[in-house]
């Protein structure tokens, strides 16, 4: 059971990890409906700066 749970978590993590950037893009774009376009722009700039610094 523990093995199955770990396997499931590992596989799910892989799927989300590999799709991280497009999911992030959707969150930024659609998120503008919740928090407005300025916050989306701010988060995008911070994300790009973080990627250039550490990734």
């Amino acid at each position: 059971m523990q093995y199955r749970t770990r396997d499931f978590v590992s596989r799910t993590g892989l799927v989300f990890g590999r799709s991280f950037f497009p999911l992030f893009a959707i969150a930024i774009i659609v998120g503008a409906t919740l928090w407005g376009p300025w916050v989306s722009l701010g988060v995008t700039v911070i994300a790009i700066a973080s990627a250039l610094r550490s990734l």
Binding site: F21, T44, L52, S54
Partner: protein, 322 residues
């Protein structure tokens, strides 16, 4: 002798009931579908500004900038990494699906799939770091790559268009196929312009420019900057290896670039395992290995001499004692 991937899929003829060549290839499809969905969301919100909190020209600029940046980012990965894997190892067992999914794959990155495949496989992989490899930056008289920013702004689409024109019009068979692929590409690529031409400029053309100039071109630059063509004396100095776990998780293991060039038919999901098997060869061969990914490498190489030295530093776990 370097062993190939042990669990390479059986030929399609042996298992005709399967759609995908490799079980993990559905991750590639998912990535591309989410990319297309992101474009669709951006287009819809641009056309329904009140829903996105767009109240005037400045908030529209903020929305367009945020969307174009993230769309460009993911399109660069979608073509430069994700489709790239398909160009080496087609993801479907059906040739028809491979051809058509490929066409649907690269148009959202500003490329006809055949053109991208030609540049990458026929030119880049076959002529790595030789004068015939016109996909890479030009060399200065002292043998180094040209300036980082010059390559980013001059390569796509200007230099590429010139080279592709010369190459693809040289032979009749290539010319015919290129024309057909170009026509299919323009039919697909023009769709946003039919919806709203101004929207297409800002949320389609601009992201494609960002994807190509900043994501794909910078990737090409950092993967081979400071490298030399493969020789028996320097077998693993043709590419830099990026071993950041987070980078490789989110970028389909493209960081294992030396391994990829030496074994382009190994599936992208099996590159970490191949890397472990080849680790000692990389250390002994003094391969350039860095602990970060392409993005930080681009940041370092875009800077002054002091910053560029940071890129040249070797990951401490891969230092040769010889």
């Amino acid at each position: 002798m370097i062993p190939e991937a042990p669990n390479a899929p059986a030929p399609a003829a042996l298992r005709p009931w399967r759609l995908l060549s490799h079980p993990q290839d559905w991750h590639c499809i998912l990535f591309h579908v989410i990319c297309l969905a992101a474009y669709a969301c951006a287009f819809w919100l641009y056309l329904h500004p009140k829903v996105a909190g767009i109240t005037g020209p400045w908030s529209r600029i903020a929305f367009v900038l945020a969307s174009a940046l993230v769309l460009g980012w993911i399109s660069g990965i979608d073509v430069g990494v994700n489709f790239h894997n398909h160009s080496h190892r087609p993801i479907f067992t059906s040739q028809f699906l491979n051809r058509w999914f490929g066409r649907m794959w690269t148009f959202s990155g500003g490329w006809p799939s055949f053109f991208w495949e030609y540049c990458h496989v026929t030119i880049h992989h076959a002529n790595l770091l030789t004068p015939e490899d016109w996909t890479l930056p030009k060399h200065t008289p002292d043998g180094k790559f040209e300036n980082f920013q010059r390559y980013l702004f001059a390569h796509w689409p200007w230099r590429l268009a010139t080279h592709l024109w010369k190459d693809l019009t040289a032979r009749q068979t290539l010319r015919r196929r290129s024309l057909r692929e170009l026509a299919i590409f323009f039919a697909l690529w023009s769709i946003p312009f039919w919806i709203n031409p101004v929207m297409a400029i800002w949320l389609w053309v601009l992201p494609h420019w960002i994807a190509n100039a900043f994501v794909m071109n910078s990737g090409m630059y950092v993967q081979h900057a400071g490298c030399v063509p493969k020789t028996p004396a320097k077998p693993v100095s043709h590419s830099t290896v990026f071993v950041s776990n987070l980078f490789n998780l989110t970028m389909f293991n493209i960081g294992f670039h030396s391994e990829h060039h030496d074994h382009p038919r190994v599936h992208w999901s099996e590159l970490p395992e191949l890397h472990q098997r080849l680790k000692q060869d990389l250390i002994d061969g003094k391969a350039h290995v860095v602990p970060f990914g392409n993005y930080h490498a681009a940041f370092l190489l875009a800077g002054d001499d002091a910053r560029q030295k940071g890129f040249a530093e070797q990951d401490s776990r891969y230092k040769s004692t010889q």
